[in-house]
Symmetry: C2
Subunit: 415 residues, 2 copies
């Protein structure tokens, strides 16, 4: 039996039979899209597969070339994967999981009112598989779109690690135009999908005056407005809600009214054209984020030292603490030229290691106070600082001063 | 020159002179309490110390024995340290950093209207130094107070790791009476201190009908009400705000109106007397909490496996993911009989590893879905489950079912 992508098939494993549409798979597994909207993968060696009905491939007719309207801004859409890139496939039951600008735009016609688009697929991965070298490729791709004249760039991305990628682009690129990361928490074949509203809001921001790296996602669980978060200040704070993304320790930059696409400014931002394009994409990938927990053995920190890591971000407790028996290992790291940056697992608020004994001991051992930076953002910044500073001491100084809005001298108490 | 605790002294180090009251110190450092309310410690070998004025020790007159009022409930206060235990010292400039029930009560006379108290000092540490064996000693001390007839127990504790200790007591003790953890974010010599309101609210809960382990802390940044959080559902979400403690993935159990001490119930709870006292304080301390980050090498997980850890909680991304190249290490852990419990760094929401490929691979490798449990609570629960279950398989089953309100079958969407 010759199965083709798009065929309706049934897979039986351990007595359980499941039907769905055959999807592409890179894992060697048989992957089907089920009625529920979810995919399931099966080891072909351990399941019986039968054809239920031939698919009517090609299920999505090749969309007509995108209309170009005079006078609209030019926006590049770079796709990296994630749920938002599965949009068209999922809705139509079609089987290509490759995003194309044509496909996303034909499914969200409102986008056409906002800009003319060029699209490129950079990656097609779940964002939990992102890593430093992918951020570098992405940064160069974004920059090349800007060089080619894009008035704004939209990066579609999985939500899981969008925090980290947004931070990476923020540190790597000085941008004259908006660079907007957008994703979706629910794939677009689900009635509650957030993909369309997020994409439209992202396009509004990409054509706006906000010349920064931002994340644009639902602001509430309804379809009323999206929030525009600074790329270094945003965190996924819920596994599944549409309004999972929250600015931490600062106000969002703006909100986008979905109905009329008006942008209401809520905070300071760098304006379009203020900065000239500059890309410094070097990163030191041998950095680690280590979360402290009560009773954690100092050997955990020693492991990173002896394994040749070049920088460590500690996620301590409260104002930035670890147990006293970790102090020796912080000293060892410092002596070995490995910066240890202190952040807090509270996430909100700021580290201050001058209040309690433990904190003062950490500073004496060479720990670097991260201020009100997010632990995840501190990790990415440390990768950047170590690769771009001439010395470790200079990298440490970079960690303590704001580079892309990720730290402030005082944290507003209302966020 | 003979310096005594309580003396006003000046310490000069690298040309900077600081004055303050000489405080006790276990580190061998000279510790002074400065005007700002903060302490500073100095290496005596590298600083010059001079006497400014003799202290009028004993600065706190021994308080009169506590009045006992007929008809009031009997509450035991167990002190473990932290900012709240520094209360009396800091306000008076007195130098004993040992808490005594007499001292705290004489400084907060309202407490006397609520109950009669017995006090014991269990530890006097900053809570970043807590660990599993201290939780065990504490659990036994709490149980012995209940056996001796306490109608409620208050545990004063540093805020840094209160989340973990509250979870530990929740799993270790089935209690017929309220067990209330309370702390303070600001020491009581600061005008904005939250110590008094938190202590009074804790006493109200300790004499209430709420027969559970709870955390009672400020609900807002004002002195209006305190929230009563379930011990397994609460997290410190801000480094310094008085309302740092938040229930995650469930509603707080109640709130305490500070003005009249009325308790307004907000959610379900186990009533006083419903459970008989039972203490199972065994823990497997060789468990680790590992936070995943993009690009993290699978060897990080292997380190814990080869170092003899017995259980691992992964703080994954989104619905509970790690990169595909971690799957092999999860399998290795599983094969070595080391449970790997999957939680999410989003903190809010629930893990669901059946949606995306990565998640399904994690499940196939033996990963255990943590539902909507907090990562920190999962760590403590895993320590408990491994020590109290007859087999690793049984421990895994324990991890998936609620034991003390830490997981629910569905997470309310409004929290
Ligand atoms: N796991 C997916 C989830 C999403 O796209 O929302 C990803 O981050 O790629
Ligand atoms: N570092 C202190 C902070 C506090 O008590 O609030 C502790 O947790 O012990």
């Amino acid at each position: 039996m010759e199965l083709e992508l798009g065929d309706r098939i049934a897979v039986t494993k351990e007595g359980v039979r499941r039907e769905g549409v055959l999807m592409p798979s890179v894992s060697g597994h048989v992957v089907i899209k089920m009625e529920s909207g979810y995919n399931a993968g099966f080891d072909p060696e351990r399941s019986a597969v039968e054809l239920v009905a031939k698919g009517k491939a090609p299920m999505v007719p090749t969309p007509p070339p995108l209309p170009r309207r005079e006078g609209l801004a030019k926006v590049s859409i770079l796709s990296t994967g994630g749920t938002i890139a599965s949009k068209v496939d999922y809705r139509t039951g079609a089987v290509t999981s490759r995003f194309s600008a044509e496909e996303i735009i034909s499914s969200i016609p409102e986008l056409l009112e906002i800009a003319n688009y060029d699209g490129r697929v950079i990656y097609n991965i779940l964002s939990e598989n992102m890593k430093a070298e992918y951020w570098q490729v992405l940064a160069k791709a974004v920059a090349s779109e800007i060089e080619k004249g894009a008035d704004g760039v939209i990066v579609t991305h999985g939500t899981d690690t969008m925090t980290y990628t947004a931070a990476a682009l923020s540190f790597m690129i000085k941008t004259p135009v908006p660079i907007v990361l957008v994703g979706s928490q629910r794939s677009s074949d689900r009635p509650s999908s957030d993909a369309a509203m997020n994409a439209v809001s992202a396009a509004a921001v990409a054509t706006s005056d906000i010349g920064e790296v931002t994340v644009v996602m639902h602001g509430t669980d309804s379809d009323d407005y999206a929030l525009v978060h600074r790329g270094t200040r945003v965190r996924k704070m819920h596994t599944s809600r549409r309004d999972a993304f929250r600015s931490i320790n600062c106000h969002p930059i703006a909100r986008v009214n979905y109905r009329n696409r008006d942008i209401e400014v809520l905070g300071e931002y760098r304006r379009r054209g203020e900065a000239a394009l500059e890309v410094r994409e070097k990163l030191e990938p041998r950095c680690a984020l280590v979360k402290y927990f009560p009773g954690a053995e100092p050997d955990i920190l020693d492991y990173y030292i002896r394994s040749g890591y070049r920088g460590i971000v500690l996620e301590g407790t409260g104002l930035g603490h670890v147990a006293s028996d970790w102090i020796g290992s912080i000293s060892s790291a410092t002596e070995a030229g490995i910066p240890v940056v202190i952040t807090s697992q509270c996430l909100r608020g700021r580290v201050c290691d001058r209040v309690y004994d433990t904190g003062r001991d950490i500073l004496a051992a060479g720990g670097i106070e991260g201020g009100d930076i997010l632990p995840e953002v501190a990790l990415v910044k440390l990768m950047w600082a170590l690769a771009n500073a001439p010395t470790v001491d200079e990298a440490k100084r970079i960690m303590m001063a704001p580079l892309a809005g990720e730290i402030s001298a005082s944290t507003p108490t209302t966020v």
